[in-house]
């Protein structure tokens, strides 16, 4: 929409214009994006930012946060700050992988199911609704327990759980887009089903997929943290926030707050970043859904 304008506003002007158009959602989106950019930078530069090796014993156990150990040390004398920095990697990789998996399965199935209809649609919908109604974490636990540890295995167990989210959304949109006049026109011109799906239906579901993807990553992060908190994550000593939390839980009565506070805060921050981005994008990309 910008391309048609002769006047091209600067970055700052565009930022504030976005705020004027979209209101609070704009700030939410931008704040979410900033959190994520910060986290991604930390993840990529982890070896340069972390002062110590996350799996080496570098100080006295249970050292309070001080200038040498920013977030203190854990029960084994490992630097909590370094573990928190490195922990971002595992969480982000698993969350991204699982969301990509579920999108890759859920979106095509949703498109086909909505477009073909009939028995295929009924069977797929029944299966997906069943998975959807089931407590996601418990399903993920069952799958993860059977598959055993490993980045790919954890990602798969999370992915299975979130496939229905994509499926239901894409199917619903496909059903409504299918009835649009331009699809009718394309069909009367003799376009094949594959062409219609690719050129007319798929582009229409992209915005929603983006939104769901972002919210999905937030959920995946929380699920991953939950799984590793329950001991179904990567085997130690890999730095992993959820696992560090469950390890620190044993030392809670001693009042060693720093061991559990910081990893949990990071999980919350990253999940918050993705859900803010998703929420904001939802209001911006699907304005019909906003309340008047």
């Amino acid at each position: 929409m910008e391309g048609t304008l002769e006047y091209r506003p600067g970055l700052l002007a565009r930022f504030f214009r976005g705020a004027r158009w979209y209101g609070a959602e704009w700030y939410i989106t931008v704040a979410g994006a900033f959190i994520l950019i910060a986290v991604v930078i930390v993840t990529l530069l982890a070896p340069h930012i972390a002062p110590y090796d996350p799996i080496k014993f570098v100080g006295k156990p249970f050292t309070r946060p001080n200038s040498q150990f920013l977030m203190g040390t854990d029960n084994l004398g490992r630097d909590v700050f370094s573990r928190v920095v490195y922990g971002a990697r595992v969480v982000l990789i698993i969350a991204l992988l699982s969301s990509v998996f579920s999108a890759l399965v859920g979106v095509p199935l949703g498109l086909l199911s909505g477009f073909i209809g009939g028995a295929v649609d009924r069977v797929l919908s029944l299966i997906m609704d069943s998975i959807y109604s089931f407590p996601s974490l418990i399903l993920a636990i069952a799958i993860a327990a059977m598959l055993g540890p490993g980045i790919i295995n954890i990602a798969i167990s999370i992915a299975v759980v979130y496939i229905p989210t994509y499926f239901r959304m894409v199917r619903g949109q496909t059903l409504s887009v299918k009835e649009e006049l331009y699809v009718e026109a394309a069909r009367s011109l003799g376009a094949r089903a594959a062409t219609i799906l690719r050129l007319y239906v798929f582009p229409n579901v992209i915005p929603s997929v983006v939104v769901v993807f972002s919210l999905n990553i937030a959920d995946a992060i929380l699920t991953e943290a939950g799984l590793s908190f329950l001991g179904l994550g990567l085997p130690p000593p890999t730095p992993d926030w959820g696992f560090d939390l469950s390890a620190g839980r044993a030392y809670l009565p001693g009042g060693y707050w720093w061991i559990i506070t910081f990893p949990g805060m990071m999980i919350a921050l990253v999940a918050l970043g993705f859900s803010m981005l998703g929420e904001g994008l939802n209001e911006i990309l699907n304005p019909r859904l906003t309340e008047a």
Partner: protein, 439 residues
């Protein structure tokens, strides 16, 4: 719906890659051992349809069963004409088509003296009757009450009955219909899963009920307030609250509350369900209810104190969704004509919002309560682990560490049934509350 869920759980646990037996064994365990354990657990039976035959009837006067599918293997048993045995495995070897057969409990037949020695070491549930010389040496006639014996024999000596539904899947469904969830492998082998679940479920139910109360109180009041003061600082604040609270890992929230209220302030206990030696006489298994019913006020106090932090944690976690939902519903309702009419009659705004509007906004909230039940159960698993709450979630997690997959399967199936039951109940209540809805 339930059938689909049960099938799904079955497929995930049995068909997907990942071998529960291999998970129990040390890495590098010999494949024969793994296969043997799998066979004993019945995991090598046909998954969905059984084409190899389910039982066999002996045709000749006697047939010798051996330890392996070959004539060179040691003899173990002698079965007589007309006896019916269950087929547990079938292989085609160069020597022909061999069946692995298991006797049924209550079997009476001939075994070798060596087998009798073995039986004496492993079981009390058999009785040797008499000893006789027969083809192949000395045989002892025995009767076994509680379990069957296995051996191999060529298929040509048997009349094979085929029942394609004699498979893991259909047998599992059948046992589910009898409310039989199987028995544990570890830590207590042979303990029925259903018994364990019956013990653990009240704890989870109690936690769920109290969390729901917390959720509804916090969620509905904040949501209604946000709708009332729409577009105010409070509204935006609550909106941020609902996003933030959803992004918090529930177990971390629990840990933080434990740290503040349990460790620093010392107000509430951080673990367990009730103080030592305070458990009330068991009537329903819900400690709060039981202690009221038995007038045991000391237990009631202890039970409520133990409940406070876990239910507040879980309730707070779910409240964000309700804040948002209540706000949206309230805004919808507030836009309707009867609200304008109420306002026009001069009824104070406070009463219009919190009485007239809130009442009408409640129906969708109730539905949401049902839908959030799944989320509640997931959160309960984590909360229970955080607070060492002896409920279903912790049970499930504990059994995962033992790789006790009948328990895992039973627990997951139980959760599935629970979710289905709750959604049914919600549908019924919904139809009752809103007469416009007809199914």
């Amino acid at each position: 719906m339930v059938l689909v869920l049960v099938t799904l759980v079955f497929v995930i646990l049995r068909v997907m890659p990942g071998d529960p037996v291999r998970a129990i064994m040390r890495p590098g365990a010999p494949q024969e051992y793994i296969n043997e354990i799998k066979h004993n657990l019945g995991l090598d039976r046909p998954l969905f349809f059984n084409f190899r035959g389910s039982s066999a009837v002996v045709i000749p006067e006697t047939v010798v069963l051996r330890t392996g599918p070959s004539d060179d293997e040691e003899m173990v048993m002698l079965v007589e004409k007309g006896a019916e045995l269950a087929i547990t495995d079938r292989v085609k070897t160069p020597q022909g088509d061999w069946l692995r057969l298991a006797t049924k409990p209550g079997f009476e037949g001939w075994v070798t003296p060596k087998k009798v020695d073995w039986l004496r070491r492993v079981s009390f549930h058999f009785s040797p009757l008499k000893s006789e010389e027969k083809p192949g040496g000395e045989w002892v006639r025995i009767r076994i009450e509680s379990f069957g014996l296995e051996g191999w024999a060529p298929a040509e000596h048997f009349q094979i009955k085929v029942n394609i539904f004699d498979s893991q899947y259909f047998n599992y469904l059948l046992s589910l219909l009898r409310l039989d969830l199987g028995t544990s492998i570890a830590p207590v082998r042979g303990r029925p899963v259903a018994t364990d679940l019956k013990d653990k479920f009240p704890a989870t139910l109690e936690l769920s009920i109290f969390s729901m109360i917390v959720t509804v109180i916090i969620g509905v009041s904040t949501g209604a307030y946000a709708a009332h003061k729409r577009r105010s600082i409070a509204d935006y604040g609550l909106r941020i609250y609902s996003i933030v609270i959803y992004a918090l890992p529930v177990f971390w929230l629990g840990l933080m509350l434990q740290l503040i209220f349990g460790v620093y302030l010392g107000w509430f206990p951080v673990a367990g369900r009730i103080g030592t030696r305070l458990a009330p006489h068991k009537i329903t298994g819900l400690f709060v209810l039981d202690s009221i019913l038995t007038h045991n006020w000391a237990s009631l106090k202890s039970a409520l104190e133990h409940l406070a932090l876990p239910s507040f944690t879980l309730g707070l976690y779910l409240s964000g969704v309700f804040t948002r939902l209540t706000r949206a519903n309230m805004l919808d309702v507030l836009r309707q004509d009867f609200i304008t009419a109420a306002r026009a009659r001069g009824i104070p705004e406070r009463i219009v919002v919190y009485k007239h509007a809130l009442k009408n906004a409640f129906i969708p909230i109730l539905t949401m309560l049902g839908l959030q039940f799944a989320l509640l159960l997931g959160g309960a698993v984590l909360t229970e682990t955080t607070f060492s709450w002896p409920g279903m979630g912790r049970f499930l997690v504990e059994r995962i560490t033992y790789r006790d997959f009948p328990s895992i399967q039973g627990g997951v199936v139980f959760f599935a049934l629970l979710v289905a039951a709750v959604s049914l109940i919600v549908d019924v209540i919904y139809a009752y509350l809103d007469p416009r809805i007809r199914y």
